[in-house]
Assembly symmetry: C2
Amino acid sequence: MNKSMVRAAFGILALSLTTLASAQVKPEDQIRYRQAGYSFMSWNMGKIKANLEGTYNKDQVAAAANAIAGIANSGMGALYGPGTDKAIGNVKTRVKPEFFKEGDNVGKIAREFNAAANDLAKVAASGDAAAVKTAFGKVGETCKSCHDKYRMED
Amino acid sequence: MNKSMVRAAFGILALSLTTLASAQVKPEDQIRYRQAGYSFMSWNMGKIKANLEGTYNKDQVAAAANAIAGIANSGMGALYGPGTDKAIGNVKTRVKPEFFKEGDNVGKIAREFNAAANDLAKVAASGDAAAVKTAFGKVGETCKSCHDKYRMED
């Protein structure tokens, strides 16, 4: 998978990437950084879920949604460069080989995820818990659609 | 260190936290999530640095700055709860014990970091590379001020 394929796969996500900046990140660090991004989004998804199921704190939900959107919009497609399709030493990855072969579908899911994350951030700023619940569900669906298809079991 | 001390230490950062939501995260996961946040910010700082030193891409810099600000504003103080001051199994941490004893100073650094990250995001949206260079330098200084005092060497 070469750089232009990554770019195609991530569609609009990749438009903001300069080749220079992404090329300087070692493959093992690309894996670490992408896992860090998903991990941090996961924490923030968990906070929003806890707010929806318990006491709703508008500021906490808005902050969590902004963190998720900020990460989603940061151009993570650059973290799937050549050599990042399998473990590098003790840096493991759960991404399936299909991920690197089905660029059109991956790009579609990535765009849906971004749109859902941006919508969640917008709705969260309004403080409307019911609307946040709907928007949160849509983000979760886009996460799941990628995990189901492209993430290996533990 | 109890919850009210964490809250004091992180000042305004902690105001948006609900006890419920933060209490549900296991100490080892708190350590993992905070490391993920710093790691992902580090990737984005690196991208901004590469843009300042090479070809400047306004959209990439703005996206990176938004990711950093989103993470900075997400209430990471909740990830320094009881039991997170030392390694848990193979989940290691480089935070020094002093971090948990010097709440006033940690809170001061955290507020300075947040302010600098928000300023960087604002300036990055304008596309003014010279202003971004200054704002980026200030974020880096606040990172360093905490690392120098509260992070162990590798």
